[in-house]
Amino acid sequence: MDDYRSEIRKISMSEFFPAIVHMKTDKWRLVQICATTIEGGYEMSYSFCRGYDMVTLRLEPKEDEEVASITQIYPCAYIQENEAAELFGVKIGRIKPDYQDRLYRIDQTAPFKDKE
């Protein structure tokens, strides 16, 4: 499993959108978006694959900070962005389409937001 590239790269909010555009133009496909709750905010991991190589871009927005949706660049991101917004409460702006807390038919708001 070590024969292929697998790296995690931290990026800042200002680098985020240009980095996503770069991945798209460099023909990386989006494979997953993962939200994790950390002290005072979230850790958002956007993983991309090209062939069998994998690169993950790591963003750490604060709790009230809005992350731009990447659906304009990767249209298939909407399911996982809606999921991160509904289960973790991550503020993601301009998801297309934004299901407004109706993708998951659950009673609780952002059930994964707080660590027990």
């Binding site: 496909r29 494979v31 249209p75």
Partner: protein
Amino acid sequence: MAKRSIIPFGPQHPVLPEPVHLDLVLEDETVVGVIPSIGFVHRGLEKLVDKRDFKQYTYIAERICGICSCGHGLGYCLAVEQIMNIEVPDRAKYLRTIWVEMSRVHSHLLWLGLLGDAMGFESLHMESWRLREKILDMFDATTGGRIIHSVNQVGGVQKDMDSTMLNDILRAIDEIESELRPIAKTFLHDYTVQSRLKGVGILSKDDAIAQGAVGPMLRASGVEYDARLLGYGAYKDLTVEPVISKDGDSYGRCEVRIKELFQSFDLIREAIGKIPQGDISVPVKGNPDGEYFVRIEQPRGEAIYYVKGSGKKFVDRFRLRTPTTSNIPPMVEMLKGCQLADVPILILTIDPCVSCTER
């Protein structure tokens, strides 16, 4: 002028064994928009990492789904083993590979049966599921469970197979293979089946990549990608070639799964022929400190497991991106423009596993 209406599809529907809901926006009989919703049976299993230590969590991971149970346990264990630099014994790698290939046979036979049922071809449904019983019996004999196997553990596997068991598996797959040939011929050449599947629900190669399709759905659109080529388990030593189809229609997705069944039989034979003697696990000391993403090829497509630990017995985060989650956007795209009568078959051709998605 076409009449616009919205029809609710699911969560309870004859072709859906598990609950998922779609609002279908129709113009007369043509689908022009689809709004999915899930979460009817969401179990919060990812969140349970807060309450179970990292070794116990293997049992939870194996209960994410009853069809790819072994694969989920494997994905989780591989991630923890990478973080902790654990080298699993070769025999354990081969045993894991045999079980996950048996799961693929189980899953694809189950899907073929469901497809036969959805088309109203009851004998195909029953024949496929009759064969599936044989593989479930082999799971029962080798792991003690037909559905949940509990064989993986961090550092190896919990159960070994002696030569009699391995020979029983060889005999069982020989039987299944010979009995599957006429059934496969019907699926691939029968007029009724072709009229329901050929040219229906076309997903082009570009769309499959852009919409993030995985597994047979991606390969049926002509993309040569199979995560088994990453070489986890014993796949590094085995002959794996991605099975592809060119047309990207429902027939192509059926063809890929049927060919993958025969590929799995060959892989199981090759693995049994090459399995080395030796230990099946190594002792594990300490707690995971670090993070890792693991990709494995589940029957329904590439699954991604993320584990993050900080040296404590509870891991900080476990995340599973299931194949069905990835296949929802391509499914939504594929449904646009199709006829209402084709919707059940088209949903089935992505082989949705709501149990995995509602992890």
